[in-house]
Amino acid sequence: MSVRLNDGSQPEVAGQPELVVVAAAGEAASLTSAPGAAGGEANDVASILREASATIAPLFDGPPVDAASGPPSTSTNGDAPDDLQRYFVVDVDPGRMEELARRLNESPAVEGAYVKPPAEPATVLDTRPTDQSASTTANFRSRQHYLDAAPVGIDADYAWSLPGGRGAGVKVIDCEWGWNSTHEDLKANNIGLVGGSSSANDHHGTAVWGEIGGDDNGIGIKGISPDSALGASSFVGQSTAGAIKKAADSLTAGDIILLEIHRRGPNGGGGGQQGYIAIEWWPDDFTAITYAVAKGIIVVEAAGNGWENLDAAVYNTPGSGFPTGWKNPFRLANPSSGAVVVGAGDPPSGTHDRTISPWNQPYVDRARCGFSNWGERVDAQGWGWEVTTTGYGDLQNGAHDQLYTDTFSGTSSASPIVTGALAVTQGVLKAKGMPLMTSPRARTLLRQTGSPQQSATGRPSSQRIGNRPSLKQLIPAALKQWVWGRTLSYCYCLTTSQGAWAFVKDIGWRRLHSGTADGISNMFTVCCNQQSTAGQVNVLMDDRYIYAIMQA
């Protein structure tokens, strides 16, 4: 096996810079009209673009978003999505983007015009194939310690023992560059590309897919959520924000989008991935994420490998050309995208017989990986080193469809672990007829449960990356929830003490949780009153019990 640090000089795949324009209020239509069509100086944008041999197009495709066809203008899932129709992308030679952005920002029709640096996958190691190949792939499950019982792993066996706990009925779309959809371990539930095209360098996406949904076929690896459907929306041929929206338009509430990307931020430029940050900092990507979250989709976002403190004041300053009203999304007090942001933590020492990371830092289980961004915005962590999955070929080389790695890394390897944990949790909720998690609820539950972050020398737990998910904690916590605006189909009681049940419509029978006899009698009174009058109730319940009831 050969492994070297990715110094950023030659990223395995890379995006292109993007020039994004945000129209001033009421000016969206004028930005794409011909010179003179909107009358005189009002259409100076067209003249500027023509002089630069540039073209402009809406950033988000599809029908106009309005009250009839689009997402809600306000949402309980996150903050209100911005108006997608105000965003445009300019096609121009990358060398002319900064100058063109400066000129566009002088137009009254433009609220903001900014250049986004090229983005990359958030992996750290550049792995090289081993000499070891095999005609028949062995079973590598014993090397996937991120599946093990907590705190080492995420308690995958626990989830798999539950109905729906293999993620059936849940779709996951990975947004990045390339995937091998013919890999021998990724055949069972592959729904392929929903937008863009796959890069010829497909190792990264293949590794991500394997962690989340690798087939349970007795060979190779096993995904955390092997029954979930795996899809992809590519940044090849689509803007990053456009790819996110395309993914969202392909999913329904409760499904999951994973953003396997980071981009050079205001502290970047010093070499390698230093200063690379989560993409929600850019307004169009933020808007695309809020669009998905408002549809009830969980969005999981890599925090980035820039070894940056996302709480730093520098992130409060808007990028050049950002629209007015932009606020730093890394601050919890500001409007949130609603995405689950994932940092990278060390695996236990001794994993794969290694005790020191390629960064020459001793492995301290659940301590922040040296490269991982941190801050109050980071919700949870996954393994940032030593992830065994599909692709690359440093564990098993040979045919392209039989490649495996032992060293997938970065917030790139961490984010699929959290994604998989959320997918199996959604599967359990779905199997039990319970309402599915929204993205903000997923964030809350990940913060309330899991194996806590630990400190290492120079990497104190105050540099927050959050907890490692534990499905033994997460699933019960997700199951216990307030269910609003339901009716009761039946009530049932015994004459023995504390024997009372109610049937919540579309969910099923639940016993009134044992506590005090008079407390159960009080709840049962409400149940009977509301059932007999077809009145609505709000119920705090899980898959077995009703803990409280509110007459609505």
Binding site: Y490, C491, Y492, C493, L494, T495, T496, S497, Q498, G499, A500, A517, D518, I520, S521, F524, T525, C528, N529, Q531, S532, T533
Partner: protein, 73 residues
């Protein structure tokens, strides 16, 4: 045995402990609420009373002339 889809014509209770009875359409005679527990009897009275006041039907399980379980439908 289970007796299904009955209207509750009357529910009777007194100030004595666990003292409650019900009369169901189509069934002869008053049926006592089984005196298993204080709160269990109270729950049963709640259920039968809600059915009576809102003209809902119940399924009841009779152990002889005593009601031991009921479903408000």
């Amino acid at each position: 045995m289970w007796v299904n889809s009955k209207h509750v014509r009357y529910v009777y209770s007194s100030s004595s402990s666990k003292s409650a009875y019900a009369l169901f359409d189509g069934l002869s005679g008053w049926k006592s609420i089984s005196k298993d527990s204080n709160d269990g009897v109270a729950n049963m009275v709640t259920l039968l009373s809600a059915a009576n006041s809102n003209n809902r039907k119940v399924n009841v399980y009779l152990d002889g002339d005593s009601v031991t379980r009921a479903v408000l439908t």
